[in-house]
Amino acid sequence: MDDQPIFQCKGVSKAFFGIKALDNVDIDLRCGRALGLIGENGAGKSTLMNVIGGFFPPDAGVMLLDGKPYQPESALDATRAGIGFIHQELNLFPNLTIAENIFIDDFPRRGPLINRKSMAERTTRVLRTLGMDFSPWLKVERLMPGERQMVEIARVLASDARIIIFDEPTTSLTAKETEKLFVLMEQLKTKGGTIVYISHILGDVEKLCDDLVVLRDGRITASGLCGDFSVERMVSNMIGRDIGSIYPPKKNIPGDGVALAVRNLSQSGIVNDISLELREGEVLGVFGLMGSGRTELMRMIFGVDDYESGEVVVGGAAVKRSNPRDAIDKGMAFITENRRDEGLLQSFPIVDNIDLVYLRDFVHPVTRLVNKKKVAGESARIAGELRIKCASVDRQAVKSLSGGNQQKVVLGKWLVKKPRALIMDEPTRGIDVGAKYEVYNIINDLAAGGSGVMVVSSELGELMGIADRIIAMSRGEIIQAFERGEFDEEAIMRAAFRVHGDSMRMGSAK
């Protein structure tokens, strides 16, 4: 088509709590082309999309649409400008019908009333292009996750967007649905549409995209024609450094004692007959794709969520179901993947956050009053050990700390007493490289001290760097376990995809 880019970002930057999520990012989008956007978790992909989508403004830089300044203030502005988003997390209203969800921000109308006939026709037409033969008046609550994702896609298609941004659209799709989606994306391109495709499945990116941009720590590390990139080159640009130097040398030796055992844990629709053992002094990696049930499993083990059958045993004693208090008493600790909402009391100082879990160990046996001095001393000791960078341990609110230091506070509250079994869900998400190294060190030290540490991560490289053993999960089941000596990225990835599709869609990445 013509050479003039339809959309441009120039020098876009954005920081959160002092961490640069985007640093001077330039991208060009052209008609009839697909841009692949790849990077590790926390590389800034979502931030970039949110800036384009009008969810928050950039701190610096400009965006141009058709050569004119584009400054969206809301999602509606983006839609009006012809930019459509397909989010990884669904944004549907299950209490409404498929047709209503598709037209929720702009119903076809006749006078003041909704034109049901035209709505049904247009919905049916869009659904048909996606190969779905549902009634437009079926409520979304009756659809399966994959089908819901297709409705989300239908919504953007129906809005006649010129630029469509796909953020990991295939995680909840079956292989067949994925196939249909790819055919459709090719059709969109031939009709002159512009596509941004974000995915961790590099093979798909290689197959679908014309141009490629690689982000790392908020910066573009490589860009160019997609054809010039092999999957290997993509990976090296994403990681950008030798794996050996990002992980501290291992100090722990897994013992024979069992720190945590899970036996036949099941919850219909979520996880199926999960059994695993975490040994004392072992770092166990749990790898799975988004939606594999890994987070749900961890929450059940710790007792945040309930399960139907099975048993969790810590230090030889069964933990009461759905009872985090009992889990803590038996020596379990849990670091949530949602640090901001579940891991911290944001407006409280560091001391109060660290002492939250074991506060009752600091109360006077008779008066039940908290021994403030002892509490402060203990917290200060931990804050010092973890090298939390802050102005004041007992006055500074946690929300003013950087992501990495916030994560250290989360860790700190479980270190008042040495945990027997520590579960960490995405412990390094959204924190910078230096803080990551420190978190790895803490894991290393804990394991060397005899604790069992179970780490969930969607970065396989990270698990290969720190774990003694990795188990791969898919669709709520454990597929395979790998010992440290036999770690093989491709094999583990394949296991994580095994139940997922009839066809293999994973490019080899070494």
């Binding site: 809301s74 209490n95 929720i104 003041p112 009333l113 979520i270 669709r475 139940v499």
Partner: protein, 336 residues
């Protein structure tokens, strides 16, 4: 099995309605006479109209505790205009509705602009509006002219009592609005997930504000209906009616969690049901002092159904990760 449960929970209103109807019909056959049914609907009008407004607010997940006080304040203004200023009843009633709108707007500002919790914001208004009404009336009962009270007795076309016509009109307009207009459907969306609504580009603030304004007008209108029936308003006019209105909406299947509910048949049936229970208890000569307890028990049941339904739906919606036969069974082809 799950499907059957869901069908029962979703149609709890009808089921409770029919059960109550049959129970009272059996206990007192007089209850089933056409005239007594007509009286029930006429008497349901005043709570019904307020409950329609309340339904809008509840759909967004909010609540409006100020409707009873709104009734009183707007009635006080109406009395002042007619009795002291000699304004015609028609102009008086128009201003009365505007007062309702004004109070609704005040609630809307507190909730959507200042960001106060609806419960607290409307609680403030509840006290404020009653205070303002007392200030005008000095808490002396207000009497209204016959020209206003006779409106209640008019039979349109000789057969349809005026209140019933008004009730039908309000229910119709509200129902069409919620069912068949863009803002109507969007209300359901933001009630289900306000953050999601914002992400989808809906004007959540404006939609929410609109519901409080509608609720205010409905409260004033319900007040007028009641005035026309009573002819006199004293200082505790409307006290406790917010509870009846919320109860009518919830009995009609409106969820206190937002996003679920209809004006017709839902709230309409709910309002009639409340009146039916009250009349039925009188017909069956149940101990006067037992009646509030029975009333409370029935409303408790309705709210309980709402809670069970919400948690049940949430459970059904939990992400299905494992490959199960669930989806295959639904589409009728088990090939997975």
């Amino acid at each position: 099995m799950n499907k059957l449960k869901l069908v029962l929970l979703n149609n709890a209103t009808f089921i409770i309605f029919i059960v109550i109807f049959i129970v009272f019909g059996v206990l007192s056959p007089r209850f089933l006479a056409y005239k007594s049914l007509e009286i029930i609907v006429v008497n349901a009008t005043f709570i019904g109209v307020i409950a329609v407004g309340m339904t809008f607010v509840l759909l967004t997940g909010g609540i409006d505790l100020s409707v009873g006080s709104t009734m009183y304040f707007s009635a006080a203004v109406l009395g002042y205009l007619i009795n002291d200023l000699g304004v015609s009843i028609w102009l008086g009633m128009l201003v009365c509705l505007l007062v309702g709108l004004l109070i609704g707007t005040f609630n809307a500002i507190m909730v959507t602009r200042i960001g106060m919790v609806p419960f607290i914001a409307t609680l403030i208004t509840m006290v404020l509006a009653r205070g303002a009404g007392m200030f005008i009336t000095r808490s002396v009962p207000v009497d209204y002219p016959e020209s206003l009270t006779t409106l209640d007795a008019i039979n349109v076309f000789g057969v349809i009592p005026m209140p019933i016509l008004l009730f039908a009109l309000v229910v119709c307009v509200a129902s069409v609005f919620l069912r068949s207009t863009q803002p109507g459907r969007q209300l359901y969306a933001i009630g289900n997930d306000p953050e999601g609504g914002r992400r989808a580009g809906l004007n959540t603030r404006r939609l929410t504000a609109m519901t409080y304004m509608i609720c205010g007008i409905c409260a004033a209108l319900g007040g007028i209906v009641s005035i026309a029936q009573l002819g006199r308003v004293n200082a505790n006019f409307g006290v406790g009616n917010e509870f009846d209105a919320i109860a009518a909406a919830v009995l009609g299947g409106t969820s206190l969690f937002g996003g679920i509910g209809t004006v017709f048949p839902g709230t309409f049936l709910g309002a009639v049901m409340i009146q039916m229970i009250q009349s039925g208890l009188v017909f069956t000569r149940i101990d006067l002092y037992l009646q509030p307890i029975i009333m409370a028990a029935i409303i408790f049941l309705a709210v309980l159904v709402d809670s069970i339904r919400s948690s049940f739906i949430k459970k059904l919606q939990r992400r299905n990760i494992t490959k199960q036969t669930d989806g295959a069974a639904r589409s009728g082809s088990a090939n997975g």
